[in-house]
């Protein structure tokens, strides 16, 4: 007798990741003003916590989390991403957050593990 289990390929759920990331950002810098001395710590915390939450979901993915915090002073900022991967399974999501003194942009890239 053969027991055959078919596992469907999981694809990245951008909405779920987005919610998770927003919570991390809010928890770390919500209500704070841009502070040059602390911003280093903030970006590191945001990427680490977001990554931990994503990994906890237990899905078969490699993750890259990128966070940029910019002081609001009238400068122009432009970002672009380009990815060479498997469009059926891999995906990304970008969360933009702001308050009175700063912008925070977090991007998550998820690449399926090939087993």
């Amino acid at each position: 007798i053969f027991l055959y289990r078919l596992e469907s390929q999981v694809s990245f759920n951008a909405d779920e990741a987005s919610v998770s990331v927003k919570e991390c950002v809010e928890a770390i810098i919500g209500g704070l003003d841009y502070n040059q001395n602390k911003v280093n710590q903030w970006t590191a915390s945001i990427v680490e916590h977001s990554l931990t939450q994503l990994v906890k979901q237990g899905r078969p993915f490699k993750f890259i989390v990128n966070c940029a915090i910019m002081q609001k002073s009238g400068a122009g900022l432009h970002t672009a991403n380009s990815c060479y991967w498997d469009t059926a399974t891999d995906g990304s999501c970008t969360v933009r957050w702001e308050n009175r003194t700063m912008y925070c942009v977090v991007s998550v890239f998820a690449v399926a593990l090939t087993c």
């Binding site: 990554l51 400068a75 498997d86 690449v111």
Partner: protein, 113 residues
Amino acid sequence: MDEFQTGEETAFVVDEVSTIIKESVEGAIGGNAYQHSRVNQWTTNVVEQSLSQLSKLGKPFKYIVTCVIMQKNGAGLQTASSCFWDNTTDGSCTVRWENKSMYCIVSVFGLAI
């Protein structure tokens, strides 16, 4: 007898990637001053050109290229990345470029297939 070849062909070579990025950035924005109306096109050109050169390397990798262009006007910018991957095969490389009117930061992440 099995011959196991772990060659440079399948590793993420930071220097090689770094050179490709520098050329893409120079080609797309070298000699230009920050212009709000063109910056959209520039970031797109930088990532596309970089990605196209990287895929030409023919290595068994998936790539993610991000590009940030910021006008120089005294604002502070801090970025961080965190990655959950295979430390033995995957890698990243970040190139910082600037001229009189803008900064350009390009990051490439390579994940082995």
